[in-house]
């Protein structure tokens, strides 16, 4: 059985029909077709699936798509302005905060949420906030430096 759902992703409305058990991650990747957010653990441990829901972070593998009906979803694809990357994305590139890239969409969303809540975090606060996002390459150093650079207005 499928139910109707209007999912607004990065400002675009998508009329969908999903099963009640469909997660937000499955709907965005499989039905909308935006594959930036990743399925890592499917267990709310790794943060690779992180999106913003009405501006607040959510592990989308653990959130029912139907509960996002009529709300605003932001994925990594929504952080850039067309071809123009966000300051955070540019900082990730500049600091090599990307290795295999699998955690990067979740890291970017998580760091975006952190900077929204706390525009000038200390390094320890960055490390704690991002410790809900696992980097399997252990490439945390460049990621932390990138977030700190943006937080300092660099």
């Amino acid at each position: 059985m499928k139910l109707p759902l209007t999912l607004s992703v990065n400002g675009v409305s998508y009329p969908l029909e999903v099963a009640p058990s469909t997660t937000l991650l499955e709907a965005v990747r499989g039905d909308v077709g935006l594959t930036g957010a990743k399925e890592g653990c499917d267990d709310s441990e790794c943060g690779a699936c992180m999106m913003l829901l009405d501006g607040k972070p959510v592990n989308s593998c653990s959130y029912l798509a139907l509960q996002a009906d009529g709300r605003e979803v932001t994925t990594v694809e929504g952080l850039s302005d067309g071809a123009s990357l966000s300051p955070l994305q540019r900082a990730f590139l500049a600091h090599g905060g990307v290795q295999c890239g699998f955690c990067t969409p979740g890291m970017l969303i998580s760091a975006t949420a952190l900077l929204e809540a706390n525009p000038r975090p200390m390094e320890d606060e960055v490390r704690i906030a991002l410790s809900g996002n696992l980097c399997r390459c252990t490439g945390y150093d460049g990621i932390v430096k990138a977030v700190l650079e943006v937080s300092a207005g660099g």
């Binding site: 059985m1 139910l3 997660t23 709310s44 959510v58 959130y63 029912l64 139907l66 704690i128 809900g132």
Partner: protein, 300 residues
Amino acid sequence: MRSAFISAATLDEALSAIAEGARPVAGGTDLVVGARQGKSPLPASLVAIHRLDELHHLGAGDGLLRLGALATHAEIAADPVVLERPTALADASSIVGSHATRAQGTIGGNLMNASPAMETGGPLMVFGATVTLRSEAGERQVPVAELMTGPGTTAAEAGELLTAVELPLPVEGTGSAYVRLEYRRQMEIAVVGATAALSFSAGAVDWAAVAITALAPTIRLVPAAADGLLGSDGGAAAVAAAAQAAAQASEPISDVRASADYRRAMAEVVTRRALTAAVSRARGEAVPVPASSAVFGGTT
């Protein structure tokens, strides 16, 4: 036939669905994760309650702190009254899951999931919090200390929804802290946890409460630990004796995260640290929230 999923627009609609067997879902941070892990399949009938504004509130008045079931961990951790008075609750709420969990996860879901390792239960118990359970037939109040009856089980009956949590604000000068042993800074739940709360009068402890977490089938108060502190100066010897009493009251299990022996050994350490932080706060000394980070040290 009832749909397998409805998004309730009113509390009555939610209660009606729950009366017919639907399970409530708010943040989904336990229910959906559990289903994805294969621990327990997603219930056949769900009622989403996240749009019920009447359950989404947080405020203090008349000496009480009132939390709607949909108050999120992030909202609780940032509330100035929570930070100032029942500080242990701020300690706990600020370390639930990650910032994604805290943005979506609710106090109502956290309690009704009834994990013996969850963070907010100990602080709510030491402050004598009660919950409101509501059904189509009416509502009743149940102390948090009696709500959780075992791992994943509660005293709530079929058809009942937790709608609110209420706790008496501790008197000014009360110091409290929740501390957990953790392997990871986020997306963690207590390996062992302890809550301590106390106040002083003329240099002697005149009220105390201690609760232990992830050390028994439910989070539990330890009256023996609290009673031993009364009349003491809250110094190292009194704290050590109370920590030993907390360890003696523990009945830990061995699981993938820790052996029973290790948990028993850490019960004393973690309780001592919670008590030490609570004493410091009662004396007006600054202990940052969350106390766990403060007493175990930062990452850098």
